[in-house]
């Protein structure tokens, strides 16, 4: 230990002697580590479990009703479900579950004599949506399962819409007119920042938030002017062109079921049996082609992480690599310059190992200093990333763990970069070092 302190002192002296060189090395390590930490932090904060741990228990079932001619090669089943399949799978799930989809609906607001029509993004969902996806409420609460069955005319609205329509006041019990129907507000959501918006990635992971939430069956019964949201249809008949939600040849419903432990394999077996049943009935052409993916894998499957973040992360890795290569090269040349003094130490009795440790300590010091400065740079980098006009920008954060990580990366990588030059210097016979002085 005392030796470590001695080496550290030696290292500091050496650093001060070649201060320009040391400054350069510290700076370049700091740049590399800073950029890397900022982009890695962004990547981590955008790919974490948005449901804080529950994500691995929530699954997205898929079955394949498409005809064989539709996609010749064997590939993944469609992302979403037809209405009939969705309802069947929904009934079969014993635990918590939700069916959901999204579209545009016209909302009429009347203030005084002023009539204003606006299209609002509307999410159709069954009652457990809010619980399963941990939606925060400002006023009131979600609707009940009985509302689903009775097709009650109730809605939950977003905080933003509440501000626009009612100035932010408690609007529980008040009414809004959507698609010529009257709806009673039963809940107002608080600011909800589910990032990525895992329950519906069809519009991209960071799309516009919804303003109205409506029970699924109610929503189906409401007159729709502009379709029932994004649909993938494979037949070319009129039902498809009309985007009829009851169509047997259009998939659009998203289903999420909560499964723990053995339930997962049970439900998977159910999906396979269901597909076999449908094939026997003549509805399905294909053999069972089912998937049961959890939310985290679903995010990967839907490419929820924007490529721009991945690009910046890769370039930052390159920057880190270069700063370490640079440090290694500069260390090598610096150690050459120390030959005389090191040769003297060897002649006075220091072993090769002593020299090696001394030089390593110097490298570690540079790494540590570089890491500290790198922390400053990573906050700078974070600020720059958050300033981007992209939708996800405000969700980028630096988790505490990444700060410790960056310090350790800086020190360890610099140490690694120092090993080879230090070893070669330590192994040089003392007489060579003394001569070259």
């Amino acid at each position: 230990m005392k030796l470590l302190g001695y080496y550290a002192k030696l290292g500091l002296i050496s650093l001060r002697r070649s201060w320009l060189l040391s400054l350069q090395m510290v700076f370049s390590v700091a740049l590399g580590v800073g950029a890397f930490t900022a982009t890695a932090g962004a990547l981590i904060s955008l790919s974490g479990d948005p449901l804080s741990g529950q994500g691995r228990q929530l699954f997205h079932p898929q079955v394949d009703p498409t005809p064989i001619s539709h996609r010749e090669q064997l590939s993944a089943p469609p992302d979403d479900l037809t209405l009939r399949d969705a309802r069947a799978l929904f009934e079969a799930a014993k635990g918590r579950k939700v069916m959901t989809s999204l579209n545009w609906l016209p909302l009429i607001s009347e203030s005084g004599h002023e009539v204003r029509a606006k299209m609002v993004v509307t999410r159709a969902a069954t009652s457990d949506f809010f619980g399963l996806f941990q939606a925060p409420f400002l006023f009131g609460q979600g609707w009940l399962p009985s509302d689903d069955q009775r097709r009650s005319q109730v809605v939950v609205i977003s905080r933003a819409l509440n501000e626009t329509l009612f100035g932010g006041s408690n609007s529980i019990g008040r009414r809004v007119t959507i698609s010529e129907r009257n709806f009673t507000i039963v809940g107002v959501l608080d600011r909800w920042d589910l990032v990525p918006r895992v329950y519906d990635l069809n519009d991209g992971a960071y799309a516009e938030p919804e303003q109205v939430f409506m029970p699924f069956e109610t929503w189906l019964a409401v007159p729709q002017d502009y379709g029932y949201g994004p649909m993938n249809c494979w037949a070319n008949d009129q039902a498809d062109r009309d985007h009829n939600p009851n169509s047997e040849t259009c998939t659009w419903v998203q289903l999420w079921v909560r499964l723990t432990g053995n339930e997962k394999s049970d439900y998977l077996r159910y999906l396979v049996n269901y597909s076999k049943e449908q094939k026997a009935l003549g509805r399905y052409e294909r053999d069972p082609n089912v998937r049961l993916i959890d939310t985290m894998d679903w995010l990967t499957y839907k490419h929820a992480i924007p490529s721009s973040i991945k690009i910046q992360y890769s370039v930052a890795m390159g920057l880190l690599l270069i700063s370490l290569l640079s440090t290694a090269a500069l260390q090598g040349v610096k150690f050459r310059g120390l030959f005389a003094e090191l040769g003297l130490r060897r002649a006075l009795g220091a072993s090769r190992r002593d020299i090696f440790y001394q030089l390593l300590a110097e490298g570690g010091l540079i790494g540590l200093l570089g890491g500290l400065l790198g922390l400053v740079f990573s906050f700078l980098g974070l600020a720059i990333l958050r300033g981007s006009p992209e939708g996800y920008a405000r969700h980028i954060d630096l988790p505490i763990s990444s700060l410790f990580l960056s310090l350790s990366i800086a020190t360890i990588c610099t140490l690694i970069a120092t090993i080879v030059p230090a070893a070669r210097t330590a192994l040089t016979p003392p007489y060579k070092q003394l001569i070259s002085g």
Partner: protein, 397 residues
């Protein structure tokens, strides 16, 4: 000068560790920089592409009827109303570039055996004026000869210069007939350019613009309005207000100046380009400072040798070129290695990160940039070595 190479190579072998590190450094630098330059260059080019319309003065408002709206004003009357607003030069019903792309397969032969895929711009009376397209051949479309909405048969059309070249070569194309599956178009004029997307590909500029007469139809859709210079924002507010007045049971979910639309379309890419540019600057700076430091350290360590050589008759420029050649050998090796890895990385990045292909010109530019900068970095220390008085050096020995 070049008989220096053998001694230089020998000298480098003595420093092979550092030389190897420098070679790796340069290789990694050029790999990353070349791929970043490709992305940045693509964004810069896209930012300067013109859509062919009068971008600064065009405004787009979407006006749609909703469930329960009473029967409203037909499109033609709405257009008349809009054209009466202050600062409005022209108004039409139809899409602009950067909105949904409609494509059509057309051919000069009616059997459509060899066809070209074009972007279709289909609008109401006043459409070319509202967009502000630049007619360079033939004449503009006029409202009188526009067929009615829903009419089949021949329709007059404007085509882009690029499409004219593609279909008719050196001929003017005016008066020629173009066939599509269920329709045909008579070329009346040629416009300079008209792109549906901010794409660099040549097919983006293959467009066809046609006009139909809207009379009593009451439809929802996009209205495009051209304002006088500098009045786009005011006109946008006025148009939205007026459309709402004309029918309160219509919604205007989308209303924007074209400039803002373009900024939204490009905003992300520009932000990425800026971030990459700053990373490239840092990469280059570290590379150059490293090369500069190492050169000056090598110079210092070989000061005696240089002095002796001067004393024996070498000129200043001999010494200078010695160090510069040494530098270029190392950097050159790094660049050669880096070129290979640059293309390899590009192949991977094209697949996983969706970046464009690395073109030889961007590659050459990156290589030249790094080579020149590294020589400049080495120039300082090398020059200092060359101007040392030999006597000084030997005396200090």
């Amino acid at each position: 000068m070049f008989d220096n190479i053998q001694p230089i190579a020998r000298a480098l072998r003595k420093h092979k560790g550092t030389a190897a590190l420098l070679i790796c450094l340069v290789a990694v630098a050029v790999t990353v920089i070349a791929n970043c330059v490709v992305v940045i260059g693509g964004v810069v080019q896209q930012a300067h592409i013109s859509t062919g319309i009068n971008e600064g003065n065009v405004v787009v408002v979407q006006d749609i009827s909703i469930v329960g709206s009473r029967s409203g004003m037909p499109v033609s009357d709405k257009l008349v109303e809009l054209e009466h607003l202050p600062y409005v030069i022209g108004a039409a019903f139809g899409a602009t570039p950067l909105m949904s792309d409609r494509i059509l397969n057309v051919s000069t032969e009616s059997d459509l055996e060899r066809f070209t895929t074009v972007h279709l711009f289909d609008g109401s009376q006043g459409y070319p004026e509202a967009l502000g397209v630049h007619v360079i051949g033939g004449r503009n479309l006029d409202d009188l000869s526009a067929p009615d909405v829903g009419a089949t048969g021949e329709a007059p059309a404007l085509i882009t210069e690029a499409l004219r070249l593609r279909l008719f070569g050196s001929a003017t194309g005016i008066g020629r007939l173009i066939y599509a599956r269920d329709s045909s178009f008579r070329v009346v004029g040629v416009v300079k350019e008209l792109r549906g997307r901010l794409s660099l590909g040549p097919s983006a500029d293959l467009s066809l613009l046609t006009v139909r007469r809207y009379d009593r139809q009451d439809m929802g859709g996009l209205y495009v309005i051209r304002s006088t210079d500098g009045k786009a924002t005011e006109v946008l507010t006025e148009v939205s207000r007026r459309l709402h007045e004309l029918n309160p049971y219509h919604a205007q979910p989308f209303a924007s100046t074209f400039k803002d639309m373009r900024q939204v379309a490009m905003g992300r890419r520009v932000a990425l380009a800026r971030a990459l540019a700053s990373l490239v600057v840092m990469l280059t700076a570290i590379t150059c400072f490293t090369i500069g430091s190492i050169t000056s350290l090598w110079v210092r360590q070989r000061r005696t040798q240089a002095g002796i050589r001067r004393a024996l008759g070498a000129t200043k420029s001999h010494i200078l070129s010695y160090f510069l050649i040494e530098n270029s050998l190392v950097v050159g090796a790094g660049l050669a290695l880096g070129l290979i890895t640059a293309f390899a990385l590009n192949a991977l990045a094209m697949q996983y990160l969706e970046i464009p292909r690395l073109s030889p010109s961007y590659c050459a530019a990156s290589v030249a940039l790094i080579f020149v900068l590294s020589q400049l970095s080495a120039l300082g220390p090398a020059w200092r070595a060359s101007v040392q008085a030999p006597a000084q050096v030997i005396r200090n020995q």
